[in-house]
Symmetry: C2
DNA sequence: TGCTTTTTTTGATATAGATCAAAATCGGTT
DNA sequence: AACCGATTTTGATCTATATCAAAAAAAGCA
């Protein structure tokens, strides 16, 4: 069984048939560093899981790239806008390392939701979990200083320090590279 | 039919029986300005709709109140943490005007999800919609100046200016009252 | 291994927004 | 209408972070 399905089953029950149908629609991608999983304006991946590697979600603000999140092994990620509204994504998703990904395309997912309504419980749990992660991020940006945000980040995701450049981390934190370099000392 | 159910039906289909069961569990609250719908640590309301009035969600950061969101007439709101994890809320919800609210308690909602799995589609859509709202908020806090955030807020929710004090708005924007007062000119 | 490119650090200066204090204005109550 | 408490504005100063420029260090590549 593929690890994406495995992970989905943690959120709720899945019939044998649903499992097979999902497996049939799951894509197994092998990507090199710097390649994209998704570019702004596309409607491709919706739910995906990284088997190996590292990924960043980013968008453009004033013609500059801004990192919105990082993704790592063994977590389910969702591009919610395409799932919710079947609209093209506003963000770009790029690999920061050579990576292996399992993903389900938006069209396939929508079909699966119709064929196997039981999937809606899993989808609800995933979206609710995303809400909680986003709320934590909002509180951090809303009330914490750059130093506090940095300390929170490295305490929660220490591997980022080793695997991601300082510039990418600064962009995620909403500060400049220079400021982050100074915070580190 | 109560307006909360009416609104839920915009997100997905609901059987006659489910509708009746939800109606039976919907509470109709009439609250005065300054009263609370929910205090930190409680597990009460999950989904609710304001028929009349205005509400704020806030939490404490360094012993000071910080406004996280405002709620107005005719929108469905959800305290996601209690729904997702059946854990007490981290936030407080207080009325800023005399208000009338329809709400479903967490325990009732969980029961309803079990009895009427069709509700999961609606719950998924609501959570996905919340995700999109939260993402917009993150981008705003992440990339915009105080002035830009303020302009975005009043262009999107002009009534807040009339119905909410400057201090509450400043707290929501993550700036001081004095700064907001200066921005306004 | 040495060279080129990218990333990180350091320095000097500028700016948005915070803080503290006080004055002015508004709003509800009698 | 007049008062009292709450809200908003104004002023002076301080601080965190940005900006611009350049040096130093690290990483990728021939």
């Amino acid at each position: 069984m593929n690890p994406l399905i495995n992970k989905l089953k943690k959120y709720g029950p899945l019939s044998q048939e649903a499992e097979i149908a999902i497996a049939k629609r799951t894509k197994h991608l092998i990507k090199k560093k710097h390649e994209h999983l998704l570019k702004q304006g596309q409607t491709l991946s919706s739910y995906f899981l990284i088997e190996k590697g590292l990924i960043r979600g980013y968008f453009y603000s004033n013609h500059k790239e801004v990192n919105a999140w990082f993704g790592i092994e063994n977590e389910v990620y969702a591009s919610i806008l395409p799932v919710y509204a079947n609209l093209p994504s506003l963000e770009n998703i790029q690999f920061l390392e050579d990576s292996i990904v399992y993903s389900i395309a938006v069209d396939d997912l929508n079909e699966l939701y119709q064929l196997y309504p039981e999937l809606n419980l899993i989808g609800r749990k995933i979206a609710e979990e995303v809400c909680m992660i986003l709320e934590e991020r909002i509180n951090s940006l809303h009330t914490e200083s750059a130093t506090e945000r940095y300390q929170w980040l490295i305490s929660k995701y220490p591997y980022l320090l080793r695997r991601v450049s300082l510039g990418h981390i600064a962009s995620y934190l909403g500060i400049t590279q220079e400021t982050l370099s100074r915070i580190r000392k």
